[in-house]
């Protein structure tokens, strides 16, 4: 019995020693992309189907989920948003613009991933809507929009307030949902 136990112990050690452990002496060069996007383990396992939605419609769905205080729907919508990023039109863009578009898309992906991974914490989803809204607005500034949009602003969210985009004139606040649905005002209209 003793002999068997010793052999098992030695074999286990040998097997375990031979797995894992790479030499990490190089430094990662992140120059053109952000490594942290696409690394959320939960989403890597889910295959996100690319879909035909425009990123604008998908963003509006995410916003709608938060307006309705529905974290699950918001998480699902953010997956649609990630899937729609392949549809972003790149025709007629200068090299500079294309680089910018790629950067914005990476950022949208990262923010959408955080939203998708936090169906249990709507407050965290809302924090990422702030960043997502900036990204989407900046992307529209380069690639345009197929529908009229309104840039709304809520002065009460966090110290500096927060912006979101809407396709309706009436204010429906995604940062507060039902608790303060109509708080905010239109800052700007986005037409092209």
């Amino acid at each position: 019995m003793k002999k068997v136990m010793y052999s098992i112990a030695i074999m286990t050690s040998v097997i375990l020693s031979s797995c894992g452990g790479e030499n990490k002496t190089e430094e990662h060069n992140h120059e053109s992309h952000d490594h942290s996007s696409g690394r959320d383990n939960e989403i890597e396992e889910t295959i996100i189907p690319s879909n035909s939605s425009s990123f604008i419609d998908a963003y509006l769905l995410v916003k709608k989920g938060l307006v309705s205080d529905d974290a699950e729907a918001t998480a699902k919508a953010s997956l649609i948003l990630i899937g729609s990023l392949g549809n972003v039109k790149r025709e007629g863009l200068s090299k500079e613009e294309e680089k910018e578009v790629n950067e914005i898309i990476e950022s949208i992906k990262e923010n959408a991933e955080h939203i998708a991974n936090n169906a249990s914490e709507i407050s965290h989803q809302r924090e990422h809507l702030v960043m997502l809204s900036r990204d989407v607005k900046d992307l529209i500034a380069i690639t345009g929009t197929d529908k009229k949009l309104y840039q709304d602003f809520c002065p009460m969210y966090k110290e500096e307030g927060a912006m979101w985009l809407s396709d309706k004139k009436e204010i429906e606040n995604p940062y507060y949902g039902a608790t303060m649905l109509n708080c905010g005002s239109i800052e700007e209209e986005i037409n092209n």
């Binding site: 136990m5 098992i8 112990a9 286990t12 050690s13 375990l16 020693s17 797995c19 894992g20 452990g21 790479e22 030499n23 990490k24 002496t25 190089e26 430094e27 990662h28 060069n29 992140h30 120059e31 952000d34 490594h35 942290s36 690394r39 383990n41 950067e103 914005i104 990476e106 950022s107 990262e110 923010n111 407050s123 965290h124 924090e127 702030v130 960043m131 990204d135 900046d138 110290e159 500096e160």
Partner: protein, 149 residues
């Protein structure tokens, strides 16, 4: 009882066996100019807060206390460090675009304000990593003015 002996022996074999799982220390030579505290002229007290409460998981240099040499503690630590660096790496802040830098700074504020960071388990093992009320105030003030630049 024979069963008892088998179970105890198996547990011992596993516990001893996993100690041999190789691990690589997260201590990677990185260009200083890429570090967050070099890019933004960071006051000493803020550097200390970041170093004590954040850098173990969110940089290219992790401190490994004695107990971290024991498995499965080391495996748990390594997964924290890997995930931490994926989300935010202060040592490579210079590689982030302006957009990403802004988002990261905003996220740092959000995570600490909501007490999601530092991780509860990390604070338990490293009481000095607790960010005090005054430290939070100073940190947020510093980060907010970075965002507005």
């Amino acid at each position: 009882m024979k069963i008892k002996k088998v179970i105890v022996s198996t547990v011992i074999v596993i516990v001893v066996g996993i100690q041999f799982i190789p691990a690589t220390d997260n201590n990677i030579e990185t260009a200083k100019e890429k570090d967050f505290s070099v890019i933004y002229d960071t006051p000493k007290n803020i550097k200390i807060t970041l170093g004590q409460s954040c850098y173990d998981c969110h940089s290219n240099s992790t401190n490994y206390p004695w107990y971290s040499k024991i498995q499965p503690i080391r495996m748990i630590m390594d997964s924290h460090v890997e995930e931490g660096k994926n989300q935010l790496n202060f040592s490579l802040f210079g590689d982030y675009s302006e957009r990403v830098r802004r988002n990261k700074i905003e996220s740092i504020i959000n995570e600490i304000e909501a007490d999601r960071m530092p991780l509860g388990s990390y604070k338990f093992m490293h009481p000095e990593a607790q960010i005090s009320s005054q430290e939070k105030t100073d940190l947020f003030k510093f980060l907010k003015q970075l965002k507005s630049k």
